[in-house]
Amino acid sequence: MNALSGYNFAYLDEQTKRMIRRAILKAVAIPGHQVPFGSREMPLPYGWGTGGIQVTAAVLGPSDVLKVIDQGADDTTNAVSIRRFFGRTAGVRTTTATAEATLIQTRHRIPETALREDQIIVYQVPQPEPLSKLEPSRAETRRMHGLAEYGLMHVKLYEDITRFGHVSISYDYPVLVNSRYLMAPSPIPAFDNPKMHMMPALQLFGAGREKRIYAVPPYTAVKSLDFDDHPFRTTRAPHACGLCGATDSYLDEVVTDDRGGRLFVCSDTDHCETRRAAGHVGAEAPTADELAAE
């Protein structure tokens, strides 16, 4: 271990970690239910995943292998700084390979590689309350959750179908957990929602600014809300990944030059690299000559 001296393991003091773990245990016991916790000041501003970082700090052990992704990528500023933070304060091994990680902290994506029972995924959550845009009163949304009164959420879906012909929510698409609690899955694309259903890995959600933790235990039913005659459907850009040729992964559109050139590539960089390493080639992949010329 080469943890930075002067800090407790993973930055937070043990008492704070115990408090967060108690909230996590309660959250696991009541799948999808938002548990308040005493969110601490972190050496990162809100909006940089302080909720997710505190959850990660509370469950991280010295033998864990940590992966941090932001919008699917391991190499963005946010992902790099969080990974470096835990590398320094906990001295844990980090990885970009989904299959090697025991703990994955994420913002806005679930990896394409199916997660396993021995893994935990921690989501950074900006707004934990799925009803917040429809009902501003905290007291009223608490009552709605308490009594499982979720008709209002369906009113929102009804309005979308009426106006647009389909549900227009493409991120943070509301789900019902364990047939009981309405939950915000954080701003992951609706494309990722089915991955949450019966996932073997433990799913933890941390909202720092809103001071809430919630969880989906392994093998728990997670249903995206819909109507019988307008069933939930995932959408992805109708292309193959330009680099690895994948036709089933979630794609980002990348501008490649200033002449309007565009490229669709896997948003999950590890998934794309793993496929390319295995010999999969997309239509836009650079040739060996082009790579040599760079």
Partner: protein, 258 residues
Amino acid sequence: MTNETLLSARGLSLSFGAIPALVDVDADLWPGEVLAVVGESGSGKSTLLNVLSGRLRQQDGVVWYRDPEGRLHDVHAMPQPALRALHRSDWGFVHQNPRENLRMSVSAGGNVGERLMAQGSRHYGNIREAAIDWLRQVEIDADRVDDLPRTFSGGMLQRLQIARTLVTHPRLVFMDEPTGGLDVSVQARLLDLIRSLVRRLDIAVVLVTHDLSVARLLAHRIMVMQRGRVVESGLTDQVLDDPHHAYTQLLVSSVLQA
């Protein structure tokens, strides 16, 4: 009419500080019956409506409600989830100001469909069809189904509130001055609509109004309240044509003079 009441209140009393709002009030409502509670402002009629519907707790007395299976419930002893579910299903509440009940940023169809969705309806097409059907029943053009309520007139808003309330076929609807604040011609049309709907659908109504002509037109029976007490009650025509209590006589004569 069966001889089993839908709603029965016995000995209701409630004071706000030193001011008695309800004094030993009894009330009975049979299925399909419209009961008007009349009186001036401060007579306790709105307090009675709120206590009967479980929105307000009395200090003494009890309100019994008989559910569709014939079981009796002490309204104020019901768990909150059950009472809230009742308010979304077998009961309805029509406010004087429809904006208190409607969602102004949700389409007319979404407003009417909300109670169905709250009850678990999960078929968009059926919900929309039911909403259009109810708009027709309250005389709103079907092609307004996707419009926002803020584009509706006052009379239309009140009719939309009624459609939103009746879509689950409640057996009991509480109405608080449903025609208050509307122009006289709009009031007359709304009264005709309410009368035909409650008769056709066999809905029981507790109607609070200060307007004796509204009571005359809609109610089978009437209760006259003054300072928290029921001073006279009976069949509407009998009470209004031959009032016995001095206060009822005063109310009737003031209408005749107007």
